[in-house]
Amino acid sequence: MLRTLVYLDADLASSIALRYACQLTHIINMQLHTVHVEEPDYDGHAPGTGWVRRTWESAMLKTGEFEIAQLIKAEKSSCPMLGTPKMLVGERENEILREIQRESYDLFVEGSLHSFTPKKLFDKIHSRLYRNIPCPVIVVKNLVSLEKIALIVRDEIESKQLVSMFLKIFSGAKLNFDLIYCEFQESGKLSSKGKADANGTLNAVEQILMEQNWHPEDCRTLQGAPEEIGDELRNYGLVASPLHRSISKKSNWFQLLSHIPSPILICWQ
């Protein structure tokens, strides 16, 4: 059973992420855990030690607890497996990372609304949390129904890792998915041209998948500017992609990821 951690704040992005994660439980055999980190004010340090500090921390937690409980309560009817969220105090990224390492989660899900400027996603990918996170991540940008998944591929070596992660997460699930090779070119010429990619990646990846008894509905190459391909991928409920942690902001691949409005599943390379 896949152990999944969903990060929650009392905001729209978390609400969407939670609803999306609940949707995932209908497809994947997974256990859903939720966590919230209450951050102290940046200019304030924890007062004292012992009883004083504990009292201060519990007062802080009480503040966030109510709002997070409301979030959970709203989804509980459609997602009965939701339990009480874990409440932590400290620096958000450190605490999440520690929690993931401590409990060995298989998947991390968090909300981050789709943004016109790529900066937000770039900062996230280069955050301490994402640089060190040991498991794949789903960044939920919008709430969409998970009817079909896209696996986007670049080369055979990266794709092997992507496929193995995909198979681990979706093992036993019944779902429709397409295999897509992206070829970047100038804007205004988006086209789809079947399985014919230059280096035969699609064929190779399809072969690996079929050996595992997974059959993509469609294999195609999308040619176009990153924003055009990103927009085209809006029809998928999840887009799974390989990603190097050191990816540059100007690279086509990063631009593509930032333009996809659907949730993205990041497989670290």
Binding site: L12, L113, H114, S115, F116
Partner: protein, 293 residues
């Protein structure tokens, strides 16, 4: 709902009449087809009849027929009904057979005005207390009308009601909608709803940020809007845009989506997005534009 359709005798106007007929079919709106041209001078009067001749008259009559053709006769709210004898209770217990002519349930008026087209369209919209002015334009050449420079742009900037500029185009894939998220009217949401239904398209709701995060109130409203559309099975996306990048976002997005902007009197957008920007948007947009007020 009252819709004013500003038309002339060119193909872009015929296209608008078709779209407005569909919109009227969903909303049961009172519709006025307005043509503006030179003064009517060719008038022949007889004892029972007055006849006029005017270059735009034939086009207006054809638009009326095309509009009515959209509706099944029996279902049409604009169909004039026949006169019949009916018994009516004129006072308690007393019934009288009267000759009754029932009118259409909704009005379809055809009006011809003469004068400056921009002024006349705005004047008619005031007189009708219109909720929406709809008009078309040539897609090429920056959205123009024949013989009236920048008419759609000027009407859009000066109207006190919502304005829909419809461009002949391939299927609209998405409506990108910048609402004033701290103060959203039910009317504007309904109007967007109508557009989504009319064009059977997806909706993108833009959330304006100050460069960091959404204001809590805006976020709360966005959540409510999202739930509203999800409940109506309308596929709605959210996209965050920094206020500083709004103009560049709108100009990029207008290439592939129909833009809907909330430009009410006190709206944030009307302060950030100048009249010049509105003109540029209408001129440069590949798709139709809706200004909500």
């Amino acid at each position: 709902m009252r819709i004013l359709v500003a038309v002339d005798q060119h193909p872009y106007s015929a296209h608008v009449v078709n779209d407005v007929a569909k919109l009227a079919g969903n909303t049961w709106a009172d519709v006025t087809l307005l043509g503006v041209g030179s003064k009517v001078t060719d008038i022949s009067r007889s004892s029972s009849h007055t006849e006029i001749k005017h270059p735009i008259m034939e086009a207006l009559q054809n638009y009326r027929l095309n509009f009515l053709d959209y509706f099944e006769k029996t279902e049409s709210p604009y169909e004039k009904r026949a006169c019949n004898y009916e018994f009516v209770e004129v006072k308690r217990g007393v019934w009288e057979e009267l000759y009754i002519c029932r009118g259409a349930r909704k009005d379809l008026n055809v009006v011809l005005r003469s004068g400056n087209p921009i002024k006349e369209i705005l004047a008619q919209s005031q007189e009708n207390d219109s909720d929406l002015i709809a008009m078309g334009c040539y897609k090429k050449g920056g959205c123009q009308w024949e013989d009236a420079v920048n008419l759609p742009q000027k009407v859009a900037n000066n109207a006190s009601c919502s304005v829909l500029v419809i461009k002949e185009e391939k299927k609209i894939r998405k409506i990108s909608c910048c609402l004033d998220q701290e103060n959203i009217s039910q009317k504007s949401i309904e109007m967007i709803n109508q557009m989504v239904t009319l064009y059977q398209t997806e909706l993108e709701i833009v959330g304006l940020t100050d460069g960091t995060a959404l204001k809590p109130m805006v976020e709360k409203n966005l959540n409510a809007i999202l739930k509203y559309y999800n409940a109506r099975q309308i596929k709605a996306w959210i996209k965050l845009v920094d206020a500083a990048s709004l103009a560049s976002f709108i100009s990029q997005e207008a290439r592939r989506s129909m833009m809907a902007l909330w430009m009410g009197e006190h709206s944030l957008l009307s302060k950030m997005f100048s009249r010049g920007n509105v003109e540029k948007l209408i001129q440069g947009s590949e798709s139709s534009v809706l200004l909500l007020r």
